[in-house]
């Protein structure tokens, strides 16, 4: 690579000198005007993407903040100032409290699962060799490429209380058939299970790559000091891959606040009795079932603030323990 570029440089230099000698001053003026023109061309290349991002992300974001403090009449095109009333209504809404509580449950269940299980699997895969390992990898990753709502419909069938295969397995094992998604105490955990099945695979190659990047000298040095596999994992590997775990934590947070809504809608529509709803689903219902756009915009702003605060907290909490190599 280096020798190639040197050749190009050597070949180019005389050409430039020759043309400058011939053209003199004229060459300079041509160059300046063409730089203005090329600036314009660069801008034209970048413009569509910049305009789309401004028009479909930054302006709507500002509009959401605006909508949250007014009462918008779409038909008349008028807006009346409401101040923080939409926020007050939202915070006083018992359904909002339920959505908040459920979001906390989703997080409390999924956050540890999404990190610990793929981490254990990545450790196990690291110690195995042979062709069959890529088969394991493929199978474990497979759900991650599928569509969340389509996968959810498949689970709707597995969870079916009357003829679903899960209850068939349970009764074959001597257990009691369950109502799964129709059981108010169980629905949210069933949605968690589907989300976990769909998403854990994505963290697997991420963790595996992080483990592969741990310098072998460190492992050998620890082994020399008499540390077994478990102690090496805890004291050498885990601290070194902690930035990756931290990243996976943030991703899981966004999963719960964002992606899961498709599965909630397909599996339970937030029910039974709103027991499996979450913040985003609450927003969806306020906006598109009850058409309370002002309130929904307030909820959107609250979700955004929550994402910002939670990400910051996660960052602060882990910052001290995370070792950046």
């Amino acid at each position: 690579m280096m020798s190639l570029s040197n050749h190009a440089g050597v070949a180019r230099a005389p050409v430039q000198v020759a043309s400058l000698d011939k053209l003199g001053m004229k060459k300079l003026t041509v160059k300046r005007s063409s730089s203005y023109r090329s600036s314009l061309i660069w801008w034209l290349m970048a413009a569509p993407a910049v305009l789309l991002c401004v028009g479909f992300v930054w302006l709507p974001m500002a509009a959401t903040f605006g909508l949250s403090v007014v009462d918008m009449n779409v038909l008349r095109g008028t807006a009346a100032w409401r101040g923080l009333a939409h926020y007050g209504d939202t915070l006083a809404n018992p359904d909002f409290h339920l959505a908040l509580k459920n979001t906390a449950i989703y997080l409390a269940v999924l956050l540890p699962l999404q990190i610990i299980v793929p981490l254990l699997l990545a450790y196990a895969l690291m110690h195995l060799a042979g062709r069959v390992v890529s088969l394991y990898r493929g199978a474990l990753f497979l759900p991650a490429v599928l569509s969340f709502p389509i996968a959810a419909v498949v689970w709707l069938w597995l969870f079916n209380p009357v003829v679903g295969v899960l209850n068939a397995v349970l009764t074959a094992l001597g257990g009691m058939p369950q109502r799964w998604l129709n059981d108010p105490d169980m629905a949210i955990y069933a949605v968690c299970a589907v989300s976990f099945w769909k998403c854990f695979g994505l963290n697997l190659p991420i963790f595996a790559a992080a483990l592969a990047n741990v310098p072998p000298e460190l492992r050998q040095a620890a082994a020399l000091d008499g540390a077994g596999p478990w102690r090496r994992a805890w004291h050498v590997e885990l601290p070194l891959i902690s930035p990756t775990l931290f990243f996976a934590g943030v991703t899981t947070l966004l999963l719960v606040l964002d992606e899961i809504v498709g599965a909630v809608d397909a599996l339970t529509e937030g029910g039974p009795f709103k027991t499996s709803t979450n913040l985003l689903y609450f927003l969806y219902e306020r906006a598109f079932r009850h058409f309370q756009f002002g309130e929904a915009a307030a909820v959107a702003t609250l979700i955004m603030a929550l994402v910002a605060v939670a990400t910051w907290l996660q960052f602060r909490m882990f910052e001290r323990r995370v070792h950046y190599a």
């Binding site: 180019r12 970048a46 199978a139 599928l146």
Partner: protein
């Protein structure tokens, strides 16, 4: 470094031997565990395939046999008869292709300008694009919905395609990285031959990042194929729906009729593109998913 490595085998024979003995016992156990977990992970999909090929009468028999007693393909025509499944499939195909291509067409020239160009406002423009990656799409949902309705795009595929293409932050970022990894000499050489930014972009840059473009196309296609909430909001008439949201309509109305065979046949069509791409290029898909962080 090399000296410590040379010393190691002599210095630490004892723990190594002990370790090997322990692992010899552990490895088969590990293999069995992983094989079982892998099987459990794909089991829901196997059961979907099983149900798709099971005749209506047999679906309701509670059995754990993975292969139905009388396999049939009748569920596929049955699904097409119950709902416009063919329309849904073609809609999904068209919407996903348009979204993926549109993203590339918008992002590639911009990414090239940000990678190679020098112009006033370049850093601001790039910040405006990359900054969108940190914005949860929820916050844009309501105004975008209102704008789509006002523009008369409600219940059209454009209502899905345009906002999806507009979320091109990751594509711009990813392609800019790819362009920057190309040696600068090839562009300087092209410039000396008189090629302007467009010719450099089309004739020199694009052919050299085909792998990145392919990866982005696949990611864009799959993420658009999997879109749910947004199409659900803006597509109303049954024949305009995409497969993901059509399936939901099928599930809520088909459940009562117990049309599980046709429903799973439709779900099979829904997971087919992702499955085929994954089987064809497992390594590339995994690495593309990991870099993009999409779920």
């Amino acid at each position: 470094m090399s000296t410590t490595l040379d010393v190691l085998p002599q210095a630490a024979p004892l723990p190594r031997v002990r370790l090997k003995l322990r692992w010899r016992l552990r490895l088969p156990l590990l293999h069995v565990t992983l094989a079982v977990l892998s099987l459990l992970t794909v089991m829901p999909l196997l059961w979907m395939v099983r149900t798709a090929f099971t005749p209506h009468a047999e679906v309701f028999r509670s059995t754990l046999a993975l292969v139905p007693a009388h396999p049939t393909v009748a569920n596929f025509p049955a699904a097409f008869g119950l709902f416009p499944v063919g329309d849904w499939f073609l809609n999904s195909l068209w919407v996903a292709t348009a979204c993926a291509l549109g993203k590339l067409i918008v992002a590639a020239p911009a990414a090239f300008a940000f990678a190679r160009g020098r112009f006033p406002g370049r850093d601001l423009g790039f910040a405006l694009i990359v900054g969108t990656m940190t914005v949860p799409y929820v916050i844009t949902l309501i105004p975008t919905y209102m704008a789509v309705v006002q523009a008369g795009l409600y219940d059209t595929h454009l209502a899905v395609i345009v906002p999806t293409v507009a979320h091109c932050g990751f594509a711009c970022f990813f392609l800019r990285q790819a362009f920057r990894q190309l040696p600068g000499e090839i562009f300087e050489a092209a410039a000396i031959d008189g090629a302007g930014p467009w010719r450099q972009f089309l004739l020199v840059a694009l052919p050299n990042v085909r792998a990145a473009l392919a990866a982005l196309f696949v990611l864009g296609f799959l993420s658009a194929w999997n879109l749910y909430l947004w199409p659900l909001l803006v597509l109303e008439s049954p024949e305009h729906k995409t497969l993901a949201i059509g399936l939901k309509l099928f599930a809520t109305t088909g459940e009562q009729g117990g049309q599980w065979g046709p429903l799973m046949a439709t779900a099979m069509l829904g997971v087919a593109p992702a499955l085929i791409l994954f089987l064809l290029a497992q390594k590339q898909i995994v690495s593309a998913f990991v870099t993009s962080g999409i779920r």
